[in-house]
Amino acid sequence: MALSEDEIKAAMIEKATKAPKPQLYIKDFYACDPDTKPRVIKNIANALVKEGKLMFWSSGSTTMYARPDRIKNEEGAEGIN
């Protein structure tokens, strides 16, 4: 049975916090709730970006997600928060 949106958000934040690499592909979040469709997971990931709990990191061709406090700011400081 699919988790609630809040439960999925919590699982995604935990994953982004504990994953060995700070940047995660959208597919890495699918495992947070295998019963939820990928497009729903994508929408929740983008909602977390809107809330400031995740950030986009883009290479130009691929976009990944990361916790703001784990992502390197190319313009200087380690961690955005």
């Binding site: 983008n46 950030m55 990191w57 883009s58 691929t62 976009t63």
Partner: protein, 426 residues
């Protein structure tokens, strides 16, 4: 006055062709930061390695695409390109501009960026090169509020859709490419501005098989105009072409001496399916064999026209050669009606069917064409809920294997080996 010595780059100005080096030098006279583009590039030519770092967290608020972060890895030597972000702006449909709009874009980019542009990128966007991070938001405000334009797609987003001139100027266009492109651009704003997929995804819309936006080579979903009924023939005009009273190819080759028009050599013999012939002075076409390639229509546009029952073929899976080489899109739906009346719902349903499958099955950084290749076309058409048809066969008789599913075989694939061995010794 040049800021750096650039002997290697200067050689690129010596040929007869236009040189980007000259363009950058000209812009550097206005914006001295551009000297550092040349300085850094000269260093890259000497070191034989790029000095750009690309990617990062830069963007504008609420958007997850449209800006590609770019930084110099030698910023102290070239401070003018310390930040040199690329901005992708959604081009107008068919790339129709007014000079006023072009001036507006250029003025805006000289105000907020380097002034260097690339018209256009491979996806179709207007590419604006070189912006500092702190100028991104002011630029975006002016772009949207003054010019009424928006950013395009980048990263794992739906990329900016592109289309040919379509019915706005072209009599061959079999559907309204501009209407479809505009409708889908508006329908998928979220997918264009925020990442949605394992990798990039592109639509392109061409009105006929001449494919002026090269949709079949460059897009994950190529919608290419075609027709279902017979090519419309004006036999009187055919006679005029043969008599030399109408110039072939609309006069496109009139400046060379190609001799008198020869319908046999220039049209009939070049038909890829050999479906045309002359009966007396009448041109005949076996339309059931015609692949709608457009060649004969291109040569004799006043005698031949696309049929009247028009729509589009939908091909899936083209890509550039990052993995496994470049590939063209594969024909999946030979004919689809496209109508604004139903808001193109059949095309939207088809596209979303691909997305739902690819988002689940596609690997990270795998284009949908690569996923199709990995699972095989039979599997792809099955998950898309389509019946295999002859048009799906690319090379008849090149593959002797027919794959039956368990439920298609009487009794399935389960066998009693003991019973089998009673009649067939091991």
């Amino acid at each position: 006055m040049a800021k750096h010595d650039t002997p290697l780059l200067d050689q690129l100005e010596s040929g007869p062709w236009p040189s980007f080096v000259s363009d950058i030098k000209r812009q550097a006279e206005k914006n001295p930061d551009c000297w550092d583009i040349l300085g850094q590039l000269e260093l890259s030519y000497t070191d034989k390695i790029t000095h750009w770092k690309h990617g990062g967290i830069v963007g504008v608020f609420g958007y997850g695409g449209g800006i590609v972060g770019r930084y110099s890895d030698v910023p102290k030597r070239f401070p003018g390109v310390e930040h040199f972000h690329t901005v992708r702006v959604n081009q107008p449909s068919s790339k129709y501009y007014s000079t006023e709009n072009l001036r507006g874009i250029c003025d805006l980019w000289e105000k907020h960026g380097s002034g260097m542009t690339n018209m256009h990128g491979s996806t179709g966007d207007i590419i604006l090169l070189g912006c500092r991070t702190e100028e991104l938001e002011p630029f975006f405000y002016d772009l949207t509020h003054v010019l009424g334009q928006d950013l395009g797609g980048s990263g794992s987003n739906l990329r900016t859709p592109a289309n040919c001139l379509g019915q706005s100027r072209c009599e061959w266009s079999c559907y309204d490419t501009e209407e479809v492109c505009y409708h889908l651009t508006m329908h998928y704003q979220d997918e264009i501005h925020r990442p949605a997929f394992p990798y990039k995804f592109k639509f392109k819309f061409s009105g006929c098989a001449n494919d002026c936006v090269a949709a079949i080579a460059r897009s994950d979903v190529a919608v290419i105009g075609t027709w279902r009924d017979d090519i419309r023939i004006d036999q009187a005009a055919v006679k005029e072409y043969i008599a030399g009273n109408i110039v072939s190819n609309g006069g496109a080759h009139a400046d060379g001496d190609w001799g008198a028009f020869d319908i046999q050599k220039e049209v009939i013999a070049l038909c890829p399916t050999d479906c045309m012939w002359m009966e007396g002075d009448k041109l005949k076409i076996d339309n059931s064999e015609c692949t709608r390639c457009m060649h004969c229509i291109n040569v004799m546009p006043r005698a031949l026209r696309p049929g009247a029952h028009q729509g589009a073929s939908v091909c899936v899976g083209a890509k550039a050669p990052i993995l496994d080489g470049a590939q063209f899109a594969t024909l999946i739906v030979p004919f689809m009606e496209l109508s604004k009346d139903n808001e193109f719902e059949n095309l939207i349903e088809f596209i979303e069917g691909i997305w739902d499958w690819w988002m689940e099955v596609g690997k990270n950084r795998e284009r949908v064409g690569e996923t199709m290749q990995r699972v095989g076309l039979p599997t792809f058409i099955k998950v898309m809920g389509l019946e295999p048809i002859p048009q799906h066969v690319r090379e008849p008789r090149s593959n002797p294997y027919v794959f039956w599913q368990d439920e298609e075989v009487p009794g399935g694939f389960e066998r009693d080996v003991v019973e089998f061995r009673k009649k067939h010794a091991a």
